[in-house]
């Protein structure tokens, strides 16, 4: 089996006294989308920036496509697509000129107009970056990464500020990239977005990894029922059910999703004449997984 495209071993990044990344290890494979998840300030961007060669590790070992990014960024850059969290373009630069520049810098034969078409910016090619919306800027930044025809792509918050349709388009582009064999690594704090696009996830908090694996592995054994009740009803006594019904904000949560549990719950609600709102049974969301992991860490 070939080595993973991205290998991070015991990575530490310090800024003075602040330890931003504290002994992190994970891998990301070619042909798959790996989401690096966690709240703002969890160490995601610092980790990604070490992989891109922008930042030096305090200690640990990082290999991207077999290269040490710190000493070989130039070689790596020929095969690496990068999307910064923000910026990267001069505000008075025109979209078409930026696309042309990056196609020429990488020299992989990508055509600027086809590239802009692919990210849905063809109609904006005459605009300056300054006049683009937040979502359009993200699309242009993605186009700059795609110009590399990358074997590995590091995308920092690729869908932030992008509207619903734009997100779906970006997800399709990322899936297409992975299907072509690219190792796609995206950092995001938007767990629901990661859930829709990623194959694997690495969950960060406070500079450490709380969990890593395929989404199914992360959610395994974590099945639940979630439901809400209309706000104007008296909350019934759930004790006859014989299993705990927990509160999570305005939701009720049962840590099981077996058919028997669903049947018991719905018949109790029917007896009381209550109509559940938004009743869901199945795997926990990544958000639930993340909350459970961070709660476990704190306790």
């Amino acid at each position: 089996m070939p080595d993973p495209a991205v290998v991070v071993e015991d990575l530490r990044v310090r800024y003075g006294d602040l330890v931003a990344v504290d002994g992190v290890s994970f891998t990301a494979e070619a042909g798959s989308i790996t989401a690096v998840l966690g709240p703002n300030g969890a160490g995601k961007t610092s980790t990604i920036e070490v992989c891109e060669g922008f930042r030096t590790a305090s200690s640990g070992r990082v290999r991207v496509l077999g290269f040490d990014p710190a000493s070989n960024q130039r070689r790596l850059s020929e095969r690496m697509g990068v999307m910064l969290q923000d910026g990267g373009v001069y505000p008075s630069a025109r979209v078409a000129d930026v696309a042309r520049l990056f196609c020429d810098l990488y020299g992989k034969g990508e055509q600027p107009s086809a590239l802009l078409d692919r990210v849905g910016l063809a109609a904006r090619s005459g605009s300056t970056w300054r006049r683009l919306s937040g979502g359009e800027r993200q699309r242009l930044s993605l186009a700059m990464a795609l110009a590399a025809r990358p074997d590995v792509a590091f995308l920092d918050e690729p869908t932030s500020g992008v509207d619903v349709n734009g997100r779906a388009e970006i997800r399709a582009i990322l899936r297409d990239l992975a299907d072509r064999g690219c190792c796609v690594v995206l950092a995001t704090h938007e767990l629901d977005e990661a859930e829709r696009v990623a194959d694997r996830a690495v969950v960060f908090d406070h500079g450490r990894i709380l969990a890593a694996g395929s989404l199914d592995e992360l959610r395994a054994g974590q099945r639940q029922i979630r439901f809400r009740l209309p706000t104007d009803v008296v909350i019934p006594d759930f004790s006859p059910l014989g299993f705990p019904v927990l509160r999570d904000g305005d939701h009720f949560v049962i840590e099981s999703s077996s058919a028997a549990t669903v049947a018991a719950l719905t018949s109790l609600l029917a007896e009381r004449g209550l109509e559940p709102v938004d009743l869901r049974a199945g795997q926990s969301s990544l958000e639930d997984v993340f909350r459970r992991l961070t709660a476990e860490e704190q306790s």
Binding site: F54, G88, Y90, A93, D104
Partner: protein, 242 residues
């Protein structure tokens, strides 16, 4: 070669499409040259016609505008908009990025001289026994000195402060002697300061090369060469890419 040419084209597009940059690099030097050649109010040293004193100084000003202010402000904003960072993750590399910036400065300087020298001639400038080879040498050394200074300031200060600092320095260097005001019209203390500044030094060596009427060309060459060594050295040591 292709990444270099692509980056050079992008640099020139940004410089030439930017109104403020064109005002700074072409508008102001041309206006100063025309106005003070026709309206004889500035001191002109030993020259009989104001344009004879002004023309070499304005060529020096053109070099300072492009190599220091235009390059410095542009690069400062590129740093704060993370353009330099993003380019750092492409096959371009820092060497070719710097080469493209230098080439774009040279291209704009050629454009400036193509406008300013004919305008000076039209205003009656007749350089006496000009040594254009020495003048070109002075412009190269001056470009290195001012380019180093512009990048040093851009690489150390935040973008907004850099913008103010570059413009402020431009005005100070313009007024402090040599370019549009002869050293001899400055008070003694200021004159000593002005002589060790790159602006006065470049204007003086250009004046020597083009009209043979310099103030102290030997000292000016030493000052200019020192700036051309020290500022790129300091910039390469202190420049922060982010």
């Amino acid at each position: 070669m292709k990444p270099f040419l692509a980056q050079l084209r992008a640099e020139l597009q940004l410089m030439l499409r930017n109104g403020e940059q064109l005002l700074l690099t072409l508008g102001i030097p041309t206006m100063l040259l025309v106005f003070f050649s026709l309206v004889d109010v500035l001191p002109k040293g030993s020259a009989e016609d104001p344009v004879d004193f002004l023309a070499p100084g304005i060529l020096a000003l053109a070099v300072m505008s492009t190599a220091m202010v235009s390059l410095g402000i542009g690069t400062g904003f590129e740093r704060s908009y993370k353009v330099l960072k993003r380019l750092g993750a492409t096959p371009l590399g820092r060497g070719r990025l710097l080469a493209a910036k230098i080439a774009s400065v040279v291209a704009v300087e050629i454009l400036q001289f193509a406008v300013l020298i004919p305008v000076a001639y039209a205003l009656g400038w007749r350089p006496s026994g000009p040594n254009w080879a020495v003048a070109v040498g002075a412009i190269v050394v001056g470009t290195v000195a001012f380019g180093g200074l512009g990048l040093l300031i851009a690489g150390v200060l935040r973008a907004e402060i850099n913008l103010g600092a570059q413009n402020g320095l431009y005005l100070v260097l313009l007024l402090l002697g040599g370019m549009v005001i002869p050293f001899s019209n400055l008070p003694l203390g200021l004159r000593a300061v002005a002589r060790v500044l790159p602006s006065g030094a470049l204007a003086d060596v250009l004046r020597q090369a083009l009209t043979g009427a310099a103030d102290r060309p030997g000292l000016a060459w030493i000052v200019l060469a020192a700036w051309a060594v020290l500022t790129p050295l300091a910039a390469s040591r202190l420049f922060r890419w982010e």
